[in-house]
Every structure is written in structure tokens, then in C-alpha cells.
């Protein structure tokens, strides 16, 4: 731990990693709260995995046809937004088939990605990085990208807080009050897709899924308002990523996996504490 604190003052990569954790926490705390209360965690997971197809295709075009403008991130963005729109429309129009559509997109997206990887020459470290990520290899441009994402999410969250709240709580009633429910729902899914993609390229898909659910799961046990849940989840999320970095740094564990295990342990502990308190009182 002391090694972490000393090195933190000297190494830019470590400072970047710490800042990445904090910036990612803002996006995850806000979007994760919406995703959890609207009960669409699996939609976020579905989008995250579908993205692999877009990344694979972009990498293939880049390497084989030398389309240098096409970087995996762009492929990922296109795939995520397409997935968000398809899933969103299916869930708004044909509720009973929603899970099938998500599973289908999930499987097809990953399969497409794997086919492209197998046809792409060279070692495809980008895609491995996409799956598992490495918070210690974050560049300054990644940080700016995350800051931009945070700004977008915070601004939409502040402007449309009441509208998103109403759409998540009772879509039918919100529609009767003249709210454009479909627009807000797709906007929310679009923001979730953007968060998943940008964070996946930085910290990895597994870490994103964990950060979008575990801290929010803990906050949900204790919060009685949506904004309170956002604030608490953001703080928890930042605490977990920071602790994950600090704990894993000395013994050289994978930082992402350490963070997830810390958050998972905290989640289980919180659930048990809540259960114990309710039993003790009841």
C-alpha cells in the first residue's frame, strides 16, 4: 500500500488509472442507477457483448483492407447504437420477445466478432483488452473521452431528471402526461450504450458490467430517492476502483479483477447486513 502511495506521486500511468476510476464512476453511478431501477441490466450486458462484432469487423477492415480511419472504437460505437435501437424498439413494441431478441443479438454479435478475429492477421491484443481491459494502460486521450462522456451524462441527467424518473417508474402514466416516452427510453439506452462502449475500451467489458451493477445494488439497499442512489453509487464505485488499484498494485494482481472482487464482497456483505438488521428488528 505504501508502495502504491509513493509510486502514485511519480508515475503518470498510475495517476491516469486513478483518474480513470473516478471518471468512470460518475458515468456508471448515474447510468447504472437508471439501468438498475428500470430493470434493464441485461440490456446493458447485451449491448456490451454485441459490441464485439463491431470491433472485430472494424479491426478486420483496418488490417486486411488498410482502412486506417476505421479503428475498433468506431466499429464498437456503431454496433452498440444499432444494438440499443433494436433492443429498445423490441422492448417498447413487443415486450414478450425482449429477452429472446437480446440473447440473439448478444450471441450473434460475439460470433461475428470471433469470425472476424480469426480472419484478421496478427495478434489481436485490442480485442483481448476489450474483454478484460487494463486500467493501467489508459492514455490521456482516453481520459478526455471519459470526461466528455461524463459531461454528456451529467447534463442530460440534470436536464431530464424528472422525465427519466417518470419514464422509469411508470412509463404508461408518463405517456399519458404527454411525455415522449419512446424518445426518452431510447435516449437512455443510447447513453447506456455509449457508456458501455467507451468504458469497455478503457477498463474492459467485465469490469463495466460489474461497475454498472454492484455499487448500484449496494446503494439500492439504503437509498430512498433516485438522485441519492446516483450519488452513493458514484462514491462507492470510485472507492472500489481506487481500493482495487491500491490493493492490487503491490502484489501485481490484475487491477480490474481485484476491483470486481472487492465490489462483489462488499455487495454480499451489504445484503447480509441488511438481512441481519431486518431479522434483528423484526
Amino acid at each position: 500500500m505504501s508502495e502504491f502511495l509513493t509510486d502514485l506521486q511519480h508515475y503518470v500511468f498510475l495517476q491516469n488509472a486513478l483518474l480513470t476510476g473516478v471518471l468512470a464512476s460518475v458515468a456508471c453511478g448515474i447510468i447504472g442507477t437508471y439501468v438498475v431501477v428500470r430493470r434493464i441490466s441485461y440490456i446493458a450486458d447485451g449491448i456490451a457483448h454485441t459490441v464485439l462484432g463491431g470491433m472485430g469487423a472494424a479491426l478486420y477492415l483496418n488490417r486486411v483492407y488498410h482502412w486506417h480511419g476505421v479503428i475498433p472504437l468506431y466499429g464498437a460505437l456503431v454496433a452498440a447504437l444499432i444494438a440499443a435501437v433494436i433492443i429498445g424498439l423490441v422492448s417498447l413494441r413487443a415486450k414478450q420477445r425482449e429477452d429472446t431478441a437480446i440473447s440473439a443479438l448478444w450471441a450473434i454479435g460475439m460470433a461475428v466478432g470471433i469470425i472476424f478475429i480469426s480472419r484478421t492477421p496478427g495478434y489481436n491484443e485490442d480485442l483481448m483488452g476489450y474483454l478484460f481491459g487494463n486500467i493501467l494502460m489508459v492514455s490521456t486521450s482516453d481520459l478526455w473521452m471519459l470526461a466528455g462522456l461524463d459531461a454528456l451524462i451529467v447534463i442530460s441527467g440534470l436536464l431530464f431528471y424528472n422525465q427519466f424518473l417518470a419514464v422509469c417508474f411508470d412509463q404508461e402514466f408518463a405517456g399519458l402526461r404527454g411525455l415522449r416516452v419512446e424518445v426518452f427510453y431510447l435516449l437512455l439506452l443510447g447513453l447506456a450504450a455509449l457508456t458501455v462502449v467507451l468504458l469497455s475500451t478503457v477498463v474492459g467489458i467485465v469490469m463495466v458490467v460489474a461497475m454498472l451493477t454492484l455499487p448500484i445494488g449496494i446503494a439500492a439497499l439504503f437509498c430512498r430517492s433516485l438522485w441519492g442512489m446516483m450519488v452513493i453509487s458514484t462514491i462507492l464505485c470510485a472507492t472500489f476502483t481506487t481500493c482495487g488499484l491500491a490493493v492490487s498494485y503491490g502484489p501485481d494482481y490484475p487491477a480490474g479483477a481485484t476491483t470486481i472482487i472487492l465490489a462483489g464482497a462488499a455487495y454480499l456483505a451489504a445484503i447480509m447486513a441488511k438481512w441481519a438488521v431486518s431479522r434483528f428488528r423484526g
Binding site: 422525465q163 424518473l165 404508461e172 399519458l176 402526461r177 404527454g178 439500492a220 430517492s225 433516485l226 442512489m229
Partner: protein, 262 residues
Amino acid sequence: MIYDKGFSVNVTSPPAIFTKDLWFSYDSNPALEDVNITIPPGDFVSIVGPNGGGKTTLLKLILGLLKPSRGRAQVFGETPEQARRRIGYMPQHSQLDPDFPATVMDVALMGRLGHGRFFGPYSKRDKEIVAKVLEQVGLRDFRKKSFAAISGGQRQRLFIARALACEPDILLLDEPTANLDVVMEGDLYELLQTLNERLTIVMVSHDLGFVSRIVKSVICVKRKVLSHPTSEITGAIINEIYGSPMRMIRHNGERDCNCQNS
């Protein structure tokens, strides 16, 4: 309540709810057939009928949430979409997530959506209106409580408050008495009676007898629709609606009756 086909519509003051040859089918099974009802402003109507008989479907057609297969529905002489701002709607609360992180105030404020800007916070006036309606339903002291922490009866009243926050001319309530015990039910009907002094009220109810003490007319829905003034409700009619023998208990007082499936 006028319910035969030869009615005429008063042009100067359109009926609160009016349907003409209204049909609705889920897939190819007709859920409602040839519904013709006229509900005048100021009425207090209960829609009764067996489960799956089409009560909620009728309500959703009036709200414009469902589109009729044939015929039309009008609210205050307008299409349901145009009239939405004048309707306060309370859905069946069982459809909503009981653990949702929102306060009582948050939920009631949703009734103010669509009255002002399409972004940003609620205005001071919105909050004053909501404080007033929460007071009216007796939830003023609970406004900072979590939605997850209040009781079933309080939730029902909260959803009525949310509907009232729309400043409606008509209230449409879907099963407002579900999950309530008899005492809470009594309180609720007292509240509705007070509200009926200035609002038209239409509510879906699963129990016919209790409501007949306070409502002015009853619409019976079992695919087809019949309307009655409350005084005409007899055992024979109830049998026809529910298709099973009903027990009818007379209490003191002329219109005091209670009907249950035997």
C-alpha cells in the same frame, strides 16, 4: 346514464365520456363488443364485471392507450389523445415496482409532467399544487417517506394524489380498492365522494356491492356492456354479469347491499 342506442348528444356540454359502437379485439378474440355508453359530467360511475371481462380494456380505450378495432371513444367531446390533459388516471398499482427509489413527493409530482417545460426541475407552483393534493388524501406528513416504505392503502391514496395533481376534470381509477381492508376502503370512498362534488369519477371495481352505496351508476362489462342506475341493481342482473349465483345481503338502508360470489 343513457344507454340505449337512440340517445342524443347535447352539443353545448359534451358528455364526460361517450363511446359509439366501440369494439376491441386482442388478436382475433373480441374483448369488447359494441359498447355504447354516455357518462354525463359530474357522474360517479363504477365499472364492474368478472376478471377478464374487459373492464381495464374499456378504461384503456377511454384513455387512448388502446386503439378501438371499430367505433370511437370521446372524452369531453374530444379524442382521448386531445383530452388527456383533462384526465387524471390511476393505474392498478400492482404493475409498478414496489422497491422503486422515489419519495412520496417524487411520485405525486409526476402528475405535474406535461404542464410546463419539457426539461428541468418542477416549478414552485407545481410543488404547491402537489402539497395541496397530498394534504387532501392525508399524506402530507408522509411526503418525504420512501415509496417502498408506505403501506398498500397509502400507495393507493398516493396514486389518487398523483392523478389529482394533473388538475383533471375526470378521474379514471383502476381498482382503487384492491388490497385494501374494509376500514381503508371506507376512508377511500369518503374521499372519492368529496372529490365527486367537483369531478366526474369513473372507477373499475371488482366488488359490486360495496360501491353501490356511493356511486351513482354502474356499468357492467362482460364483453358486452350494460349500464344501470345504482337503484336498479338486482340479483338477476348480478347473475347475468358474473354468470354465477351471487349472494346478496341486505343491510339497513335501502341501497345498502353487499354481493359476493357464493
